[in-house]
């Protein structure tokens, strides 16, 4: 039997293949260079505009006139060429692609490193740069080296206050920031089956933080139910005995809430080792943890209380925001003193809407804590939404144990 990547790409690990892509997307950042490269290629037409998406999320709404002009050019192009387009306020590209667009078995390519997120559906989903994407616009296909696969067996079930983000921080610290380079991660076992689709998306989102090309869950009844809500009918993917380059077992029963300390994503340790580290700001959102379940868990902990530090909550998409409004989660957040931003990436990439100052300390549910990324001279710790909530209430890093 083969790994899921080998099955989808149709060749054994190590082979180079050219494959048509089922979905390809850019955002307002990478779209600019993609369009420029595509124009320089001097092609008359896009090979398959119906498979292309342009989803504005990185600096939305535009922060200055330069950004606005670049976005206007992309907006016009998308309209003229009939691309699937989402403007400001629609949400993060990976989240929008997860809302009923990507299906199991597809080849999905995004001009963003976190495109691996969509492997949660049992798709082969990976990130490319702008010029690769321009060639995909021109031809509808691209080349891949079929990756070797690391199997990550999730044993047991999450208990206590540990959640999907803690699984992600755990495998990243075990593999290290280059432990998965050129490879794919497959999440297997009883624990994998027990996770919701939103949880799976959180976990595959961070595959690239190990250098991996993608992270995959096998499509099952959970996948079918989730996509069924969007009117898509899907079949489960049989889990076979693939040939794995490496196998890792995570025992979910024993997992505790974790923190990734500055300035490395693999610098993970239990939250309890960081308790009392004072923080200036909490940020909840991103393609890792800006989904409805994340906001609802955060709100459940801060409900009826007041946050002790400035706290920014950015829903991953308009539908997440709408659901939060309908269920009361949104008003809970506002009453607790949180600042709610428009759907998108928020301050994650360090461009706007909550960047930290020199010497400030932030706690974030995002996926990267690289030096200076979210503010020059600042420090960023990464954690789950529940840990973010417990910490926001205290004004210092705090464990969510007993609060969730």
């Amino acid at each position: 039997m083969s790994t899921l990547s080998e099955r989808i790409l149709g060749a054994p690990a190590g082979s180079f293949v050219d494959r048509a892509v089922d979905r390809a997307f850019v955002h307002d950042g990478t779209g600019v260079l993609t369009l420029e490269a595509w124009r320089r290629m001097e092609r008359e037409r896009l090979a398959c505009p119906e498979r292309l998406s342009m989803l504005f999320d990185h600096i939305t709404p535009a922060n200055n006139s330069t950004t606005a002009a670049l976005q206007a050019e992309l907006r016009t192009f998308a309209a003229e060429r009939g691309l699937h387009f989402s403007d400001i306020g629609g949400g993060i590209c990976h989240q929008l692609m997860s809302e009923g667009i990507v299906c199991p078995g597809e080849v999905v390519v995004g001009a963003d490193s976190h495109s691996c997120t969509l492997g949660a559906f049992g798709a082969f989903a990976t990130g490319v740069g702008a010029t690769d994407m321009a060639a995909i616009w021109a031809s509808g296909s691209t080349w891949f080296r079929v990756p070797e696969t690391i199997a990550i067996h999730l044993e047991g079930r999450l208990r206590g206050a540990a959640e999907a983000k803690d699984i992600a921080l755990d495998y990243v610290r075990r593999l290290g920031m280059d432990g998965g380079t050129y490879q794919a991660l497959e999440f297997l076992g009883e624990g994998a089956g027990s996770l919701s689709m939103e949880n799976r998306l959180t976990i595959t989102n961070m595959a690239v933080e190990t250098g991996a090309k993608t992270g995959l869950f096998y499509a099952d009844a959970v996948t079918a139910y989730y996509l069924g809500e969007y009117g898509n009918r899907t079949l489960p993917q049989a889990v076979g005995e693939g040939r794995y380059a490496r196998e890792l077992t995570l025992d979910l029963d024993d997992l505790v809430p974790l923190i990734a300390a500055p300035h490395r994503v693999d610098n993970g340790a239990p939250v309890t080792e960081f308790e009392a580290v004072e923080i200036d700001q909490v940020f909840v959102g991103t393609c890792t943890n800006g989904r409805y379940e994340d906001l609802a868990r955060f709100a459940g902990i801060v409900a009826g209380k007041k946050v002790a530090v400035r706290t920014i909550v950015v829903p991953a998409s308009r539908s997440v925001l709408l659901k939060a409004a309908e269920t009361g989660v949104l008003s809970t957040l506002i009453e607790a003193g949180c600042t709610v931003g428009p759907p998108g990436c928020g301050p994650c990439l360090g461009a706007h809407m909550g960047v930290l100052g020199e010497g400030e300390v932030g706690l974030s549910t995002a996926n990267r804590n690289f030096r200076n990324r979210m503010g020059v001279g600042a420090e960023y710790y990464l954690c789950s939404p529940s840990t973010a909530a417990a910490s926001a209430l205290r004004g210092a890093i705090a464990s969510p144990e007993g609060l969730a």
Binding site: F16, V32, M41, T67, V128, A130, T131, A134, G350, R368
Partner: protein
Amino acid sequence: MTLQGNAVCLGADIDTDVIIAGRYLRTKDRRIWADHVFEDLDPALAARMKGAIIIAGPNFGCGSSREQAPVALKEAGVVGVIAPSFARIFFRNAINVGLPLMECAEVRCRDAAPVSFSPEGGWVEVGGVRHTATPLSDRMLDILRHGGLVEYWRRQQ
């Protein structure tokens, strides 16, 4: 092709945020990226990029998919990058924008030492000592010889 330059030594896990910070991305002016390359790592580095061959630790170019990272290096005058391993998106992006690079596990860097390397021949020479490196695939070499994927595509019309 054989490429020559002077060594600039960098550490492991150099991420693309450090190569070019997010706050400089919203422009098409490549000089801005070149002027601010490695600013958050060491503001003095940008001035040393002309004719440089970067010899770095493992996992060079990890993080964001931003193509401005290899473009910034190339625009600043970097001749090539040698590292034991690269983040895969950076690796593809570098080839696509015409920035030569090679994987070499054993190379030791000495700052400012003369360096040469051959992407076809599969070797790197630092200060007269030759090391084996992983040759690039035929397709990657072809793209590099065209100066990048855009030119490669234009010739394919």
